[in-house]
């Protein structure tokens, strides 16, 4: 991937070139369609058990942020940031196998949804008490800073999570130590059913940045170019040793909290207003107007994505469930580590974490 340097900006800030813009659309579509299949097909067929959380309406945040990442950067996506995993190198089939609780999936049936990680890919997953990844991102950033190669850690969390103590501790910690962390708040306006006015009393969360001694910025979270640019600028600052930034990306969750939730608490007018700001349609307009893609090419891309998902689902469904007795294996990391052996007698999927230490990846 080649990006063109913007002359007026600092040399480290890049603007997305045409191939990057096409990748943006590809990942937006792949994410949207994959989540629709998960939520409206596989879950309803009873093939996916447990909770199903999707990021419809906020795909641009993950895509915009992850596409700025460079070799050696680390990201901490949240539970609606499906695209980040794909962009960092997880195969869709591996991810779907995880949703389907398969034995040869990244977590071998131990974990659900997007609780998937791989240190080599620079992806550290959430735990369900959200906000807990922010301090962990500080630790990763501490190491990145010491390595001195200009790497950053990105961490995503929702606006509801900003009410937790861990967020305060981590933002203060990062600012005091000038750590290269970008705190990305996916503000989708509802934490489960709780609206923002019952979550915090400030008019805009951007004040949280200066409150800790770091810049605070807000962008339209349905505009992938705006997200990309804002993360790129915050990262450039962090890479230059100037410390963390807080970035709010505003959107609306165009789905329930989970698949069982009809989100009737979201006012209809609000839904209609934000439906007009669909991140995929917005980017398509840009691509068409800049003549980077034709209508026909966009339609073709949609078909390709659909076929890719068909293949990934078939691959994932063909994998076996874990063996029951594996429930007690791999609690401790010992020299004869269970995770280093293939699961259920089949080869380890290519994106399973087996080594401690980040892998150098190049987008």
């Amino acid at each position: 991937m080649k990006n063109t340097t913007v002359a007026k900006e600092s040399k480290s800030i890049t603007k997305p070139d045409a191939p990057t813009l096409r990748r943006m659309l590809y990942y937006l579509k792949l994410t949207r369609e994959s989540e629709l299949r998960i939520e409206q097909v596989l879950y309803r067929q009873g093939k996916i058990v447990g909770g199903v959380y999707v990021g419809r309406g906020q795909e641009a945040i993950g895509v915009g942020a992850a596409l700025t990442m460079r070799a050696g950067d680390v990201t901490f996506p949240c539970h609606r940031d499906f695209s980040v995993f794909l962009i960092r190198g997880f195969s869709l089939a591996d991810m779907l196998a995880n949703w389907l609780a398969r034995g040869d999936s990244p977590t071998r049936g131990r974990e659900n949804t997007l609780h998937i990680g791989d240190v080599r890919l620079g992806i550290i997953p959430i735990i369900s008490p959200l906000g807990a990844t922010l301090p962990v991102a500080c630790g990763a950033a501490l190491v990145l800073k010491r390595r001195g190669k200009g790497n950053v850690a990105l961490v995503h969390f929702g606006e509801g999570t900003t009410s937790l103590g861990d967020v305060h501790e981590a933002m203060n910690f990062a600012a005091v130590m000038k750590l290269p962390v970008i705190f990305i708040c996916n503000n989708n306006q509802f934490a489960y059913s709780t609206p923002v006015d019952k979550q915090f009393a400030v008019k805009s969360l951007t004040v949280r940045g200066p409150a800790y001694g770091m810049p605070g910025k807000s962008v339209d979270g349905t505009d992938v170019l705006a997200v990309y640019d804002a993360v790129e600028r915050a990262s450039a600052r962090a890479r230059a040793g100037k410390g963390p930034s807080f970035l709010e990306c505003v959107t609306l969750r165009m789905a329930g909290h989970s698949a069982h939730d009809a989100a009737e608490y979201v006012p209809e007018k609000l839904k209609q207003a934000w439906a007009k700001k669909d991140p995929i349609q917005r980017l398509e307009k840009v691509l068409l107007s800049r003549k980077i893609m034709t209508k026909q090419q966009i339609e073709e891309l949609g078909k390709q994505v659909s076929q890719e998902i068909d293949r990934a689902i078939a691959d994932a469904e063909a994998r076996p469930l874990p063996r029951s007795e594996e429930a007690v294996a791999g609690v401790y990391c010992e020299p004869d580590c269970w995770w280093r052996k293939p699961p259920s007698g089949v080869p380890v999927p290519t994106s399973v974490a087996t080594d401690n230490g980040p892998r150098t990846t190049d987008d």
């Binding site: 807990a132 301090p135 962990v136 861990d166 981590a170």
Partner: protein
């Protein structure tokens, strides 16, 4: 050989591991310029520099979380809790993040959380607790509690070299009260191995931490009365040494389980269940617990004295058990 206090032995263990392995670093509150509330890390900032001896804001969750993040990136962080009572502020990071990470998706999480625990110094409810069982009940963690200077050094080294999160309970009462000759050469005390501190024949007292010394005092006292106590020092609570516990119980046929921690849900209950399940036929009397009562740790000396087990209480329990 050098004569070192329990506290100096911990410092020497940390020091040597930092010299041996550049991925080891320490972080916590007041540990750098000040050298730590108890001076465990005194001199380390001067020796190893600010990158490896990190003074942090008062943020236990951020400190533990940052250690986890660094561990995932290939480092071996050692966190100091100023008092183990304050570990509650980092609880979610320990039990939900660090403990479960390897099981959930496979990475190594090599890190140590160490700090002073225990009563006997009039610290009151928040500077005296023995809260080790919070973590013994969390699969994925290892929990150790050394009683001697030799073990303190050997266990801190083993903890740092382990690829799992280890919670290291130091006993503040022992910091400067015990001294021991420590070998010059490098050694570790393996996690998960108990030791018989004093062999005996009539009753075994199974314990850990500062209570090892209480048990030894009681054993010395009762020897004069012709009653022979064996004293087992667990050293590790998770995983614990089932083999040594059962061997001692079978040998003596009478068991006292002693700890400074409160009674309900304590280590004694776990060991009693183990012995009842696996050595029932070898027992000649009830399994007896000598523990603190189910209260917070009180401040005033008469209250704290009442709260804590001591040699007299152990001896009384032993005399009664001997009649079976």
């Amino acid at each position: 050989m050098a004569l070192l206090t329990y506290l100096e032995a911990i410092r020497q263990g940390l020091w040597e591991e930092m010299e041996r392995d550049p991925s080891v670093f320490i972080l916590g509150e007041d540990i750098g310029a000040y050298g730590g509330a108890f001076k465990v890390t005194a001199g380390m900032l001067e020796k190893f520099g600010e990158d490896r001896v990190i003074d942090t804001p008062i943020s236990e969750s951020a400190i533990v979380g940052a250690a986890i993040g660094a561990a995932l990136m290939g480092m071996r962080p050692v966190v100091e809790m100023q008092f183990m009572d304050f570990i509650a502020c980092g609880f979610d990071q320990i039990v939900n993040m660090a403990a479960k990470m390897h099981y959930r998706w496979g990475p190594a999480v090599p890190m140590v959380i160490r700090g002073p625990s225990g009563a006997g110094v009039h610290g009151g409810p928040y500077n005296s607790q023995s809260n080790e069982m919070w973590f013994v009940h969390t699969p994925g963690l290892k929990v150790v509690a050394p009683a001697t200077a030799y073990d303190a050094k050997g266990l801190i080294k083993a903890a740092i070299r382990d690829d799992n999160p280890v919670i290291f309970y130091e006993h503040k009462f022992l910091y400067r009260r015990i001294k021991e000759e420590i070998p010059e050469q490098d050694y570790v005390v393996p996690i998960g191995k108990a030791v018989v501190r004093r062999p005996g024949t009539d009753i075994t007292v199974i314990t850990y931490g500062a209570m090892v010394w209480t048990a030894l005092d009681a054993a010395g006292e009762l020897e004069k009365e012709g009653l022979s106590l064996e004293v087992v020092d667990l050293r590790s609570l998770l995983p614990y040494d089932e083999e040594t516990v059962l061997a001692s119980a079978r040998k003596c046929s009478k068991v006292i389980l002693l700890h400074e921690d409160t009674r309900t849900g304590g280590m004694a209950g776990e060991l009693a269940a183990l012995i009842a399940e696996k050595a029932f036929d070898d027992l000649d009397g009830p399994i007896v617990r000598v523990t603190a009562p189910d209260t917070p740790v009180p401040f005033a000396p008469p209250l704290e004295e009442y709260f804590l087990p001591n040699a007299t209480k152990v001896a009384e329990a032993a005399r009664k058990l001997a009649t079976y």
